[in-house]
């Protein structure tokens, strides 16, 4: 049985967590994110976050299956998706602190963002190492 690639579960966990942010924001109007996402850039950020998370989810499901790589664009742009999610999460944290005030709750955005950055570079390294090993 083929085992999932390195960092697969980490990527899945973070992607699902990121998807939960816009979901909670849209369903609960009293959350911090819902209170700051009231203007066009905020909504654009929310949509971008949903798009990046969905592309990452599709990449996780379609490219890491035993049948082959069904979504090569997602594979090539994987690092952009993760870094994009990290940037939007930090942007949200920044806007929340500036508009509402400082709160330790921003750690819920900044810590996953930091993990996403680390995961991006680890994934690039692991992916190219695996490619090199397969070629030799």
């Amino acid at each position: 049985m083929k085992t999932p690639p390195r960092y697969w579960f980490g990527r899945l966990t973070l992607t699902i967590w990121v998807l939960s942010v816009p979901t909670i924001t849209l369903l609960e109007s009293d959350t911090l994110t819902a209170r700051v996402l009231t203007n066009p850039p905020g909504l654009a950020c929310l949509l971008a976050l949903i798009a990046a998370a969905l592309v990452s989810l599709a990449d996780l499901v379609l490219n890491d299956t035993p049948g082959g790589q069904w979504f090569p664009m997602g594979l090539n742009l994987r690092h952009m998706g993760y870094m994009g999610m990290a940037i939007i999460l930090v942007l949200l944290a920044g806007v929340i602190t500036q508009k509402i005030g400082y709160s330790a709750i921003v750690l819920t955005f900044t810590l996953p963002a930091m993990l996403l950055v680390v995961l991006t570079f680890l994934d690039i390294k692991a992916r190219h190492r695996a490619k090199k090993a397969a070629a030799s």
Binding site: V90, L91, V95, T120, K125, K131
Partner: protein, 193 residues
């Protein structure tokens, strides 16, 4: 360019690609202009410490994104080539993003933009700055002989493409970075950690 280019179908497509590349380089010109105008007009900038902190974090993330894009592209196109002088490679990217983000921050404060627009502008400017400086470095610095690479002044015969040249392996001899690729994390004696 140091990496292999894919064949482009028509001159029109090539023209559009050149235009897009020029746009990336020129994207931060309006920001620079706005910053210079604000400074020359003698306007005082109210720098909010919190906003400055978030700007630094966001510009660093944006620069790191450009760096990840570049590293991935190099490893995809030429997986066997060593990445020469990774410190210079990373410094150019991050310096470009920080400079452009600083200009965007000054312009945002001078224009008294909303937090959303100010931070979003910093992210875009940092990305464009990293890409722009990277393009310029590859075009001009790659042709300059760096100190310590041999030769006197003026450098005799035509200088090698030292800084970002992926076509030649690094010169032999003791080096802080050796002939290792960036993804080679073996220990000092070549063993896996």
């Amino acid at each position: 360019m140091t990496h292999k280019k894919k064949a482009v179908a028509t001159p029109a497509v090539r023209y559009v690609l050149v235009l897009l590349r020029a746009m990336v380089v020129l994207m931060w010109a309006p920001v620079a202009l706005a910053a210079v105008t604000a400074v020359r007009a003698g306007r005082t900038l109210e720098v909010d410490g919190g906003l400055l902190l978030w700007s630094v974090i966001l510009s660093t993330l944006s620069g790191a994104t450009a760096l990840a894009w570049r590293i991935n592209h190099l490893l995809m196109t030429e997986p066997e080539r060593p990445l020469v002088r990774p410190w210079l490679f990373g410094t150019v990217n991050m310096l470009g993003s920080w400079v452009a983000a600083s200009l965007a921050f000054i312009a945002g404060r001078a224009g008294e933009f909303d937090v959303w627009y100010s931070l979003a502008m910093i992210v875009i400017a940092a990305w464009a700055g990293a890409k722009g400086l990277d393009t310029l470095a590859e075009r001009y610095i790659a042709t300059v002989r760096l100190p310590g690479t041999g030769g006197g002044f003026p450098p005799s015969p035509p200088p090698p493409r030292a800084a970002f040249d992926q076509s030649q392996p690094p010169a032999p001899g003791p080096s802080r970075f050796g002939n290792r690729r960036m993804d080679d994390d073996r220990g000092p004696h070549g063993s896996d950690r």
